[in-house]
Structures are given as structure tokens and as C-alpha cells.
């Protein structure tokens, strides 16, 4: 939204009613896209990226100033003949950005499919290597303390550490682990 506000300020004199509506729509799309990006499911992330991309494209369009005749080509409706040509550059940029967004979305969908085939779901998982390092150190310290006090060996609480017991389970086949990790990440 801040970008949309910046554009409105920057658009200045050239902004007609239509451009304001476009900018507001673009801002709304960007907001919705970012909200979707905060999800964990890859398919939602794709929707988020597409919404965000479309919103940004609208913002670029508003940057081109007021609407006018079809650029470069002569002709068009006679009532528009007196108006100046619309700026072609934003349209070129948007076209390029749309193609790029399409390719990105296609690739992410393929990744989501692959992830679903391999792991049973399409959620983005956390990398647990850092927590494993922390756990290793914490585990060693706990071990030393246990030896020092020679007390009963109570096992480390896996929930507290947010990591699976065996390092091999780390491929994240365990979906619950991913969610636990998510909560842990969010808490930090």
C-alpha cells in the first residue's frame, strides 16, 4: 500500500479519476497478494504471487499517465483523435512482467506438484538444520549436567526442541514436524 500511496503522490498533475481508481485497485491487489504470501501452502503462494504481480502491473500502468490514443498505430475511434497517444512504455513493461509471472507461476506449480508427490502435501517446510545444531549443543550440555548431578536420565522433550528425534527423519516426511517448526519460527 505504501507503494500505491507513493505513486499517487508521484503521479501528481497527470492523475485523472481513472488513474486514481487504477492505483487503488493495484494497491488492493498488492495487499491481497501479500496476505496470501504469508500462507504456507504452495498453491496459495502461487495465487499470492499472481495477485501481487497483477497489482504491481496496474501500478506501472498508472505510472504511464492518463489514457490516450492507441500508441504507435494511427487511427482508433474518431472521438479520441484529438487526444495524445498513450504512453507505450508501461504497456511493454507490463507485457514483459506478465510473461515472467506466467513462467514463475508455472514453475512453482510444478514444484508444488513434485512436493506433493514426494511429501504428500505442498506446504513450505522450514529448514531445521539450525535447530538441530542448537539441539546438539543443548543436548550435549544437558548430558553433561545429567552426568554432573548423576540424577535420573529424563529424555529431552522433543516438543520443546521442535526437532525430530532421529536425524534421518529430517527429510520432513513428518508433516506435523513442519507445522511445529512453523510455530517455533513464528515465535522467534
Amino acid at each position: 500500500m505504501s507503494a500505491g500511496a507513493g505513486l499517487l503522490a508521484a503521479g501528481g498533475g497527470g492523475a485523472s479519476g481513472g488513474t486514481v481508481a487504477l492505483a487503488v485497485t493495484g494497491g488492493a491487489l498488492v495487499t491481497a497478494g501479500i496476505a496470501m504470501l504469508l500462507e504456507r501452502s504452495l498453491t496459495r503462494l502461487v495465487v499470492g504471487i499472481l495477485l501481487l504481480g497483477n497489482g504491481v502491473n496496474l501500478l506501472i500502468l498508472t505510472g504511464g499517465g492518463p489514457a490516450g490514443r492507441a500508441p504507435i498505430l494511427h487511427g482508433g475511434p474518431p472521438e479520441a483523435a484529438h487526444r495524445p497517444m498513450a504512453d507505450p512504455l508501461p504497456q511493454i513493461m507490463i507485457l514483459t512482467a506478465i510473461v515472467i509471472a506466467l513462467a514463475s507461476a508455472a514453475f512453482v506449480l510444478a514444484i508444488a506438484y513434485r512436493s506433493g508427490r514426494l511429501g504428500g502435501e505442498d506446504e513450505v517446510r522450514d529448514d531445521i538444520e539450525d535447530r538441530r545444531v542448537a539441539r546438539r549443543r543443548g543436548g550435549m550440555r544437558a548430558e553433561r549436567e545429567r552426568r554432573a548431578i548423576a540424577g535420573p536420565a529424563d529424555p529431552i522433550d522433543p516438543d520443546e526442541l521442535g526437532a525430530p528425534e532421529a536425524p534421518d527423519a529430517a527429510d520432513g516426511r513428518d508433516a506435523a514436524d513442519g507445522r511445529d517448526g512453523g510455530a517455533g519460527e513464528g515465535g522467534r
Binding site: 507503494a3 508521484a10 504471487i49 506501472i60 514483459t96 513434485r114 511429501g119 534421518d168
Partner: protein
């Protein structure tokens, strides 16, 4: 001579198209094409650098369209220099990958996927460096990123998919931010051409230009992995195959730095973002190196040092004096080379030791002295021991910081000294654990509990690959070069000659900055 300008972008693109048509057929021809094209790009880049140095920036308006509408390619001394080093590095990494592919029968770097994608990546990198307008730079970034998405998920194993999704989502978001910055700048100035922008931004109201600057800095900051925006890097880089990680670590973050340099010198030469950048640089250094200290996996450790050393470059960018920028450019060149080398050598370590975990490596100095030497030199270079170029770059930055004399700059100099020592400590820790201590256990390691996702796949291949590479030693070097590494490779038991040769060539390049880097200090 400016007709040469599109070649670094066009040649790899065309070669990639040819390779996609060829598919998996004619492997020897394909390897030859890859190496020849990358060598040609290097030659063109050197020619461009000489031109730019002799007769000023080379400019080409594509198709004869003038600046605001058409695509402009520019090679000034900075972009040509970056192009030369990136071409040299990509060439070496390609030779290394060919060596690895030959030895492993293309398990890790399949010919029909890896080669065309890698060439696309090279084209994108060249386009980003040569772009004379912001939007073309965006397109260069996107070509490069699209190729990198494929490379980082190569093979499609679960750990790589996981690492890849993080990477892709972060990269896509930062691209959107870049696009927003372009939209803001275009709306405010009516152009995306860098030269025109630098004139017109000065006339903008300060609020508008500050918005554009901050959005642009955030976008580049994500690409460059500056601290608060760096969390994606250590999670996503280490799982990819060694050549991929090497070229990502060496080049992709430096393109973000290149963008920062352009933005801060050309577009927004005022110093309003100075304090912000200085603080970000300091936090990058500290957080990166502290992260590196606790890691047990060599690849992750080196990834964290990458984040911390990005801090040095941001430091130089933030200071904005001529001395600081000179030192930054030198440091960027040095760091591209040394970081790539370290990841390549880590690949060699993995090949000899069967793992990159410090808990399982050991005694490599005795069993693989050549790998030890290959690791030691770039590690000391990164740590900044004199007279290696890592030391010279840091020295230049420290001098610039002391000249500046502000309290924040002085704090940063102190932080940078401490970071440098801690980097050295982290790398010496790797050296002690992996190379000097007694071998952990005799015999090949079992496949249990590996840390990086690449390892299980790798270990399944490794014993067979090692024996095969020994047999295929003379014939297996078909894609490579007759380098001095071949004789040494035989003595150190079955490392493919192109891999060792490419690593040695990169180390030599890295060291040559001590002698040859002088002109860049002018």
C-alpha cells in the same frame, strides 16, 4: 567495437537453444559447445574491458531505438570488470561440472538439464551487468533467477524441493519489490534509463525519491543477502550440487551488490541511506560470522561466512567515498572468486571424505593433501591474511572507514576487524577438524544421518564413481584441459582432473588480484 556488447548475452542464449534441441545426444559435442561459448564470452568481456578502459563507456542502443523507448546496453569499466570476472568464474565452474559429470555419469549434473540452464544463467548475469536501463536489469535478474530456480531444484529430491521453495518464494517477492521500485521511478520521472534517471531524480521532491530509494535498496538487499533480508541464503544454498552452489554463492549475491553500487552512486548519490546501510552492514557481519561459528556442516558454514562478508561490501557502498568504492569493487571481485573456489573445494572434500559434516570428516590432510592445499589457500584468503587479496580489500575498506572518521564508520571498522578474526577462526576450525585431526573411522562412511540433502544421493554414487573415475582418468578428461592438476590428481587418488584443474585455476585467479588488482585502485 560496441557491436560486441550484445554478445555476452546472445551467445549463451543461442547455445542454450542448440542444447535444448540436441537433448541428451552428442555429449562430447555439447561439452565442447559449453566450454567454447563460455570462453568466447570471456574473450568478449576482456575486449569490452579494454575498450571501456581506453575510450570510455561503450554504449549500444539495441535496434537503433533511442534511449527512453529502446533497450540500452552499456559497458563502463565497472560493468566490464564484473563481466570479465564473472565469465572467468563461470568458465571454471563449467569445467569443474563437466569433470564431475563425467566421473559420476551425470547423476548430479545431467547434461540435458544442467548445461542449457547454466548457460541461461550466464546470459542473465551478463544482461544484468550490461543493462543500461533499470527495466532491462530487471529482465536480466529474471533470466538469471529463472535459471537458478531450475538449478537449485536439480534432481527434485525432497530436501532440494524444500530448499528451492524457500529460495524461489524469496526471489519472487524481491522481484516484485524491484518492479514496484521501477513503477515508482517511472511514474515520477518518465524514464527507466539509468543515465536519464540520474539526472531527473535530483529534481524530484525528497519524499518521492526516498520512497523509490528504499524500495530499490530492499529489493537489491534481498538479492545480496544483507542481514535482515539474508535468512533465506544459508537455508537454500547448501543442498544444491557443488558447482551450482559455487556459482550461486559467487555471482548471484554479487549482482545484488552491483545493483546497490549502481543505485547508491548513480541514482541516489546523496547519503540519506548511509546510516541505514552502515547498520545493516554491521549486523550482517556480526550475525553472519556468529552463525558460521556454530555450524557443523562445511557448506552451511561457508554460506554463513558469505552473509558476513556481504557486510563488508555494503560497508564500502554506504561510505560512498571514492576510496571506499574502489575498495568495494576490489573486494567484490576478490569475493566472487574466493567464495566460488571455497564451494568447489568443499565439493572435492565431499568427494574424498564422503561428507561435509565436520563430525564425520577427519584426517584429510594425510589422505588427500592436495585437497587440503586447495582448501587452505582460499580459506586463508577469505580470512584475510596478508599478502592475499582478501587482506588488501579489507585494508582498503578499513582505510576508507578511518578516513571517514564518523562514529558509526569507526565502530564498523572495529566490527570488521573482529569479524575478520572470527572468520579466520571458523575456517581454521574446519581445517583442524576436517584436515588435521586423526581420521574418524577407517573405511567409507555409512550412509546414515547426513546433514545436507545432497549427501544421501551422493554417497550412493560415490564408491562406484570413485573407482570408475580412477579407471577413466586419462580418457575421462575429454571435456577438460591438459592442466597441471592431472598429475597431482593421480597421486591424490582419483579426483577427476577437470575438477582439480578448475579449482586450481580459480585459486590462481583469486591470488592474481594481489598483483594484477593494482590498476583497479586508480
Amino acid at each position: 567495437m560496441n557491436e560486441l556488447l550484445p554478445l555476452p548475452v546472445l551467445l549463451p542464449l543461442l547455445a542454450a537453444a542448440v542444447k535444448i534441441i540436441l537433448g541428451p545426444r552428442h555429449p562430447r559435442l555439447q561439452r565442447t559447445i559449453s566450454v567454447a561459448v563460455l570462453a568466447a564470452v570471456l574473450a568478449v568481456a576482456v575486449a569490452l574491458l579494454l575498450d571501456a578502459d581506453r575510450s570510455g563507456a561503450q554504449v549500444l542502443q539495441m535496434g537503433g531505438w533511442p534511449a527512453p523507448v529502446g533497450i540500452t546496453l552499456v559497458a563502463d569499466r565497472l560493468s566490464a570488470l564484473m563481466l570479465v570476472v564473472s565469465s572467468a568464474v563461470t568458465l571454471c565452474v563449467m569445467v569443474y561440472a563437466i569433470g564431475q559429470g563425467t566421473a559420476d555419469r551425470d547423476h548430479l549434473t545431467p547434461l540435458s538439464v544442467f548445461h542449457p540452464t547454466y548457460l541461461l544463467l550466464v546470459a542473465g548475469v551478463a544482461d544484468a551487468f550490461l543493462a543500461g536501463d533499470l527495466f532491462n536489469m530487471f529482465v536480466g535478474f529474471e533470466i538469471m533467477l529463472m535459471a537458478s530456480y531450475v538449478l537449485i531444484t536439480l534432481g527434485g529430491t525432497l530436501p532440494r524441493i524444500r530448499a528451492g521453495t524457500t529460495y524461489i518464494m524469496v526471489a519472487l517477492s524481491s522481484s516484485m519489490l524491484f518492479l514496484v521500485a521501477i513503477a515508482v521511478l517511472y511514474a515520477a520521472t518518465g524514464t527507466v534509463n539509468l543515465a536519464q534517471l540520474s539526472d531527473r531524480i535530483a529534481a524530484l521532491p525528497p519524499g518521492t525519491s526516498l520512497v523509490a530509494e528504499l524500495v530499490l535498496l530492499t529489493a537489491f538487499g534481498v538479492k545480496a543477502a544483507v542481514f535482515p533480508l539474508s535468512m533465506w541464503l544459508p537455508d537454500s544454498y547448501p543442498t544444491a550440487p557443488a558447482p551450482v552452489t559455487a556459482v550461486f554463492a559467487g555471482l548471484l549475491t554479487k549482482i545484488g551488490i552491483y545493483g546497490l553500487i549502481r543505485a547508491e552512486t548513480l541514482l541516489f548519490p546523496d547519503d540519506r541511506a548511509r546510516d541505514l546501510l552502515l547498520v545493516a552492514a554491521m549486523l550482517s557481519m556480526v550475525v553472519g560470522v556468529l552463525g558460521a561459528l556454530v555450524q557443523v556442516d562445511v557448506k552451511r558454514l561457508v554460506s554463513f561466512t558469505l552473509v558476513s562478508h556481504v557486510g563488508y561490501m555494503v560497508f564500502g557502498v554506504a561510505l560512498q567515498s571514492a576510496a571506499a568504492l574502489t575498495a568495494t569493487v576490489f573486494y567484490v571481485l576478490h569475493h566472487i572468486t574466493v567464495q566460488t573456489t571455497l564451494f568447489l573445494v568443499t565439493g572435492l572434500v565431499e568427494r574424498r571424505g564422503g561428507s561435509t559434516s565436520l563430525e564425520r570428516l577427519g584426517g584429510l590432510a594425510r589422505t588427500a593433501p592436495l585437497v587440503g592445499l586447495l582448501f587452505f589457500v582460499p580459506a586463508m584468503n577469505l580470512g584475510g591474511l596478508p599478502p592475499l587479496p582478501g587482506f588488501l580489500g579489507k585494508l582498503g575498506l578499513f582505510q576508507a572507514g578511518l578516513e571517514d572518521g564518523g562514529p558509526l564508520a569507526l565502530t564498523l571498522v572495529a566490527t570488521a576487524v573482529v569479524t575478520s578474526l572470527l572468520t579466520l577462526y571458523a575456517l581454521v576450525k574446519v581445517w583442524n577438524r576436517a584436515f588435521w585431526r586423526a581420521p574418524a573411522a577407517p573405511g567409507p562412511p555409512s550412509g546414515a544421518g547426513s546433514f545436507s540433502g545432497a549427501a544421501p544421493l551422493y554417497e550412493a554414487v560415490s564408491p562406484a564413481a570413485a573407482s570408475r573415475a580412477g579407471g577413466a582418468g586419462p580418457g575421462g578428461a575429454d571435456g577438460g584441459e591438459d592442466d597441471p592438476g592431472e598429475g597431482l590428481a593421480h597421486r591424490t587418488a582419483r579426483l577427476p582432473a577437470p575438477m582439480v584443474g578448475a579449482s586450481m585455476a580459480l585459486i590462481a585467479l583469486g591470488l592474481s588480484y594481489t598483483i594484477g588488482g593494482g590498476p583497479s585502485w586508480r
